[in-house]
Subunit: 337 residues, 4 copies
């Protein structure tokens, strides 16, 4: 919808209409007392490139329909369930995902996988490739880490969720992973989104720490365009002025994204809070607000962790978490996976 300025001339108005029509759309003009408005009908993706705001006489352009058709609920009213090697993430179930932030050794990973299983997890998370703010921090074990994860899957039966940080690694990571994770810093790494969309595996897309919900859904649209609709959206905290925790968990994103998109929405309370004592309360909040899954960090020996130790859960927390996972989802009509 194009709003003209109050001084716009008839010629300027005509130019807008012609531009829209030459792009294959149609325009209907509505003259008010002070303003004239032009409604556009047609493929919104074409209008994006027309740059109508730059035309003379145009005050502003207001988009009414969404810029993400494939992931939008408008065109797909039923909520999707994504299956990860048979494990569902969707509206009728609740799924716990747990594991170490980084894969360090076979022993640490296996111990963490057993902890995860005991806490009720149905999927194992663990990072072999780690994007790190400082070039001097531990960057992950790479393919060796993927092999360790595959062993842990063998021993525990838990399918694997693991991060991929570069388009060139997608093929390799896909050989091991049951679900590809795209991290917060890569939410707008479009080459990576497209490669992940073509890999034939479900994708977990974390929200960029400064991304609006609309940008997040447009990033998911990049994956969907490659023919892959097995996408799970993961809220993990946004950057705000508050420095008392690492990031501010935007819990409202869960019901809001559920209203805009048919994709499942999950929450990572560990990275949002950045502190162990916040994780279980935030996980409870996430379940209660209606998240389809929750993903937590745990570590058999957090004091020795090479990455994000301060936020890893230990045994005593896991009991409390397991209790919440058992008790809250049934209140909301969900079966625990």
């Amino acid at each position: 919808m194009v709003v003209m300025t109050s001084e716009a001339t008839t010629e300027e108005l005509d130019a807008v209409v012609r531009t829209v029509e030459s792009a294959g759309g149609s325009a209907f003009v509505s003259r008010g007392v002070h303003r004239t408005i032009v409604g556009l009908v047609g493929d919104v993706s074409h209008f994006e490139t027309l740059n109508l705001e730059a035309l003379p006489g145009v005050n502003n352009v207001v988009r009414i329909s969404s810029a993400y058709k494939l992931v939008s609920r408008e065109n797909h009213p039923e909520t999707s369930t994504v299956k990860v090697a048979g494990v569902p993430i969707g509206p009728d179930t609740f799924t716990l995902i747990a594991g170490p932030c980084a894969v360090e050794t076979p022993e640490q990973t296996l111990a963490a996988a057993h902890m995860a299983k005991q806490a009720g997890a149905a999927l194992l998370r663990g990072g072999a490739y780690k994007p790190r703010t400082s070039p001097y921090a531990f960057q992950g074990l790479g393919e060796e880490g993927l092999k360790i994860l595959a062993q842990a899957r063998e021993e525990t039966g838990l399918p694997i969720v693991t991060e991929v940080v570069d388009a060139q690694d997608v093929a390799l990571v896909s050989q091991y992973a049951d679900m590809l994770q795209i991290g917060t810093r890569n939410m707008q790494n479009f080459a990576l989104l497209q490669a992940a969309g073509s890999a034939g595996k479900p994708v977990m897309l974390k929200r960029g720490m400064n991304a609006t919900i609309e940008e997040w859904l447009m990033a998911a649209e990049y994956i969907a365009q490659r023919g892959n609709l097995d996408i799970v959206l993961c809220e993990r905290g946004i950057r705000t002025f508050e420095t008392a925790y690492r990031n501010t968990l935007d819990i409202s994103a869960v019901p809001l994204v559920h209203s805009l998109s048919h994709l499942p929405v999950i929450v990572d309370p560990s990275h949002a809070g950045g502190r162990r004592e916040l994780t279980v309360p935030l996980a409870r909040a996430a379940i209660a607000v209606g998240a389809d899954a929750v993903m937590v960090d745990l570590h058999p020996e957090p004091g020795a962790a090479l990455c994000d130790g301060p936020q890893a859960l230990v045994d005593v927390d896991l009991e409390e978490l397991a209790k919440a996972v058992r008790e809250i989802p049934p209140m909301l009509g969900r079966t625990v996976v």
Copy 2:
């Protein structure tokens, strides 16, 4: 703790020590290989005024102990329970507060009060004085509104929580209110904080929409300094880059403030979300994260509300809310008031 620059001279170091000692504190110097550090012992409130950062040779000043002694948990390890005309808000209970955003008519207020009671509320909220961003918006009924609230209390038995927006009105509002509410725009209206601290009524202090948790606790300290420790802190959403909802509910503030302060912490999901469909999910999240109370807007006829109608709950939401209030608090060992 004062960290000196690496080039600081002995004279500069001595000047820091002398400044601290002349203010009645004591300083211990610790020389490292590259840096010298000066630890300060004494009354932190005195050091605040010394402006040590401006002294030559000083790199920066790091505060370790908190700037809010009276409300800090450090000096008061047990969690407080605040009673509002006998109704407790504290760690062993869960309290629902509900009512209309603004008092408009006796009929609307009474109808809302009955809705609140039916949903399980133990306290009635309602605004007679409304701070509004636009000078052209409805500003509240003033004393007439307070009288209407008092009638509703008479008929339903629910004690009243109501906002005061100006120090000059504190005495009048206190004649009617059981609890004074200080709103988000007034969190740093220090004259108002002090007047409310002297009024002899419990105070609900909403977090400023751009206030850090530390600033919020310092604002509470202004009230506490006047001898009033019956303070309840209310998280109501902060301002971030996200525009999909009115404000971003900072759910992590609940467990974090509980760890820093002995005061009860409650959540207002209505103002954070600004949309009816987000309120009940956010209320559930707030209960699950450990809030001591939740405060919601409701209205018998939201389409006709003079203030914040789009976020007011209606009957069908209230049943869902009442279910959450019955079921979640017992899971956390709390009795519903």
Copy 3:
């Protein structure tokens, strides 16, 4: 302009039109292929209270004309010049305002006033009432401070700009001040805005550190409604995620507010940066971007300042500042006052 949902019924549309008409406005309906839009004509201040968003069938409400008529450029195309005891702040001139953050002693204030004059300042700033985040910090000298400022005016001839923090103090402060300053924490203290608007003195309104430009202009509208259009807007930094400086100076606000409002816009680089070494570069940027005045903190002995010493300018900075004040405004066609 009201955008209906795609499923809105004719009854719902009629209800919107009736509501608008019953408030004295008129509505024109424009039906598109997918959506119907209702344009509203009439007094926007009435529509504010109608709560149209809450009506069934309404998707959203888009405001096109501004919510601040008195301060808007739309209704007042020429830029205003505000005179402070004869000293102009406006489009043809450039004015330097300088002085100590807080008035501490007659000696310190007078010395600072002489520094200000030497640097080319035409107005003296100084705070007698200080709103402070911590209740333990120095809160200002009150009326004694005002008297000290008046003495400094007597000796230097510089008119005085000073802050008022409570509606009850407006009358007293107006006896001494040539211009009332309303600080960032009070930008939405509506009682104070109204009292200042009635005091018969020019008002400097600082932007709230989390206020949008639209909220800032609506706050100015509160003052203007009381019949006072002698308002100067002061950008002083906003709160963002960046913690490397106290606040982030929003330099773009200057040209943007100039395009929206006829009021003069000035910049306070001292409070934004919070560090002395940033002040002069930011002051230069402010002059170059088109600010009508710049206001800086200075102190004869910053190491001993009771408030914001680290940001106060000293002699050597003042020479650099004076050079920028002499050289840049003429490039932009402005006369230095």
Copy 4:
């Protein structure tokens, strides 16, 4: 520097010291009345991986020296000058960079290059690879665009600055470009940073729109670690709550980064403001604050631009810009390149 909790035991303290020593560092312990502090001496990059915050008895860890050694001013006190095919960007000069946001056709690019030259630009910018939020927006011409840029260089003599968005494209882009640009969405695309660091070309690193200054400098460190110190940092606006412009230009970053790093700092006012009428005022502010270069978008026919037309400068703006480029740098002792 490690701050222990007030209840930390001697064993906990010893564990901290042992951990540091086992990593090859040394620790000095300083006992205060209430707190014990452990200072660390050695390679800060090792300490990063030790996770000291997770050890029992540790309250927090305060970093005093910087996490970016190669780009820090601490270890490299003189300001660097980066040469782009002979054109300097550094402390003694001022350089204007201009060109179209996106390369669209040979004609448009050449016309824009001539406009750039006439406005006084010494370098030509233009994008052949465009990262776009929406998958439906124009994504650039790829190698064909690079060839068009090379032609424009041939005809005008202006060296080329162009963006690279994927590590796999670095070799190809380097065949054409004189300087590689890394965009705001890729500031933490670590694979790309490393590839650019190895390409043997100067790199312009734009600040992530939500990156702190410290994160920006750590991203530059990734490039520097590959042996390339020809890095220019570009401030282009950060994301804040303010929606009146696309992003908030953080002008204070220029003097602050100059104080922390020896690298040149430049400003892109076009992308920050997102509107043509803000660009020239912001460019003036950038020159006045001390930027080493300014980079602007221009387009021979903005109404037809495929990308960011609303912010492109046109002829009349260019005269005003050229005037600022001629007049302000000499005031600051800089020669215009």
